[in-house]
Amino acid sequence: MSSTIERVVRQRPPGMNEQTGKRARGPAGKVAAGQELEHLRELLLGQDYQALLELKRQLGNPERFSRQLAGVISEALSLRIARDSSVSSVLAPTIERALSESVARDPGHLADALYPVMGPAIRKSINEVLSQTLQTFNQLLEESLSVRSLLWRFDAWRTGRSYSEVVLMKTLVYQVEQVFLIHRETGLLLQHVVSEQAITKDPDMVSGMLTAIQDFVNDSFEVRNGDSLSTLKLGDLTVHVEQGPHAVLAAVVRGNPPASFPALLRDTQEDLHRQMSHSLQTFTGDSEPFLRIRPLLERCLILQTQREKEGRRTPWLLYLLLAGVMAGLGWWGYQAYQERRQWQAAIEHLGAEPGIVVTGVQQRDGVYRIEGLRDPLARAPAQVLQESLASPPPADYVFSTYVSLDEPLVRARLLRALEPPPGVTLDYADGRLQVTGRAPLPWAERFRQSWPLVGGIQAVDESGLTVFDAGAERALAQQAALERQFETLQRELGAEAVWFEVGETGLPPGEPGLEQARVLAGKLRELVRMANRLDHQLVVYLSGNTDESGTLAFNQTVARKRVTVVKTALIELGLPEFLFQPDNGDQSRRQERSVRARVVVF
């Protein structure tokens, strides 16, 4: 469509624009002929002709044409752009002109429009430039550094010291490593000095880049006349720049130089300009004349070393400490592991102890809590632990009481409950209790009552037990002793007698006879008491004796009288009358005047 219009427009004869409207209102003849022609056209072309006319009118009227074109112009442009680049080349000069016109009229408009774009773009560009140039610069310096570190290693090897020692020795508070004198205009290096330790690479290029950086800074930021870059910082390297009218003095410093350092640079700069004023102004690339100011520059290569500088020194003490801590931790860990193992073994050991059941072990804040059951007769857990652990850790023992059927415990309980007397042994195994030995009856009786209460005993074997009754035996022995005593007393009684004078039958007071009767009574009383204890029935026979001086009958009478007297005296002395049996008159002792007593047991 657009191409059709284009063609129509192109083929249009010049001037047609203005004429189209006027033709209809031409002279009459022409009009008639025209009308005929018109008619013919209409006949020939019909509706198409009207449409064609309409189109023609549209094209002829700038306003209508423009309106028509407005509908398609962007599409047309995009189609053409897709085909070739003619649109941009046609538009470019116009846009350029329009832009410059706009700027000429009021730069503010464009500036405002571009502001959001320009700000970030400029910032980005500046950042990039700075970082790239600095990087290049940094690289140069860094490389010289690595060379220097190589030198240090070499130095260490040569002198047989450790590398760290050399580093330590060479560690600085600050050092001015290099000084550049740069021609301000060209950025060419006029003179360059390096400190002994420092090694530099390509001072010419450094000089050029430094100048470029300065140029860049001066150009990129609105700086007042005379202002310029004075320091650059890269890690612990600082580049101090002192500007002069014709030359720039730049010092590369590692560390922090004293506050007086910039002043030193300034003084040097002034001296330089005084001495080399002419050479500087006429410099064309020959740095030869500047050789003689080297001492001036070297004056700036100041340094201060410090052996004890903290930041650089390898912190051996710290390492040692760390190693110590690590070793300590390791040891502690090992100890803890060992302790744990021992502890576990100890707990097992405790569980194996008869009468102790461990049901749980917990550890909280280093204190163990051991829970379980314990027979009252079992050993104390702490004591058991002491056997497997030299020093058991602090622990709380929480044990409930129970009755254990473990053999050692049953045995202990047996001993405790039955208390076997000496000579009796209790053997317990597999639920069978065997009793052997001699046991007194009461114990045997108690044993028979108690063993079922002990628990854990299913059967008792008494076949080896002899039971004896101690009380009965003792009674017998006592009786025998009494018997013997009794007999002795009987014999003693036989030796006693109450004596009478010739013919006498009384026991007058004050005479020895009474006393003798009293002795006799004592013995008899003793014998009676014993007989009571021995459960004997006892009879006392009194026999009267006379000498042979009288007649038999008289003598018999005297003897009877004498017996009666003694008997009466004995009864008076407290002996019961029924003891005395009438004597048969047996006069066993013919030649004495006495009464004797004899005891018979029946």
């Binding site: 790239q132 140039t133 050029g208 880049m209 470029a212 140029d215 064309t284």
Partner: protein, 163 residues
């Protein structure tokens, strides 16, 4: 020993950095890293027995948004204006750059490098442009950083004019 500062100028991407790389390190890369700001390099040359050190400033090329910073041109003894034969626009830039140099530094030795000679088939420079250049009275050399063609010669031509 004499030192001289020379600059490579021209539109962006015409091959300034490539030419210097070729000249100093005998290297070429197809990859394009636009130069930001300046990169300074150096090269010792021997001109008829006399040592000359060229401090070569590779200056970021001109494009629609950045023009060459005059500050970088200060103190230069000569310059190489590089034109990319395949880009008409770089020719226009070369002319304006040359004009700028003349205004700032007066008549100093200039060499026009018609670079990318290896792409001659795609060159858009016509007779007319070459004539315009010739009228400036400065030497012109066809160079190719890719092939190394004309590079040494160009730097030597400039060095010779500096002594």
């Amino acid at each position: 020993m004499i030192q001289k500062k020379i600059c490579l100028l021209g539109a962006f991407s015409v091959g300034k950095t490539s030419l210097i790389q070729r000249y100093i390190n005998s290297l070429f890369s197809d990859r394009y890293h636009t130069t930001v700001g300046v990169k300074v390099d150096k090269k010792m040359v021997d001109v008829d027995g006399q040592a000359l050190m060229l401090m070569i400033w590779d200056i970021a090329g001109e494009d629609a948004f950045t023009s060459i910073k005059p500050a970088y041109l200060r103190g230069m003894s000569a310059c190489i204006v590089v034109i990319d034969g395949t880009r008409r626009n770089s020719f226009d830039v070369a002319l304006s750059v040359h004009e700028m140099v003349r205004q700032q530094l007066g008549e100093i030795p200039v060499v026009f490098a018609l670079n990318k000679a290896d792409l001659k088939g795609e060159w858009t420079l016509g007779e007319e442009q070459l004539r315009t250049l010739a009228q400036l009275g400065q030497p012109m050399l066809e160079t190719s950083a890719r092939l190394g063609q004309g590079v040494n010669e160009m730097f030597m031509a400039l060095a010779r004019r500096l002594c």
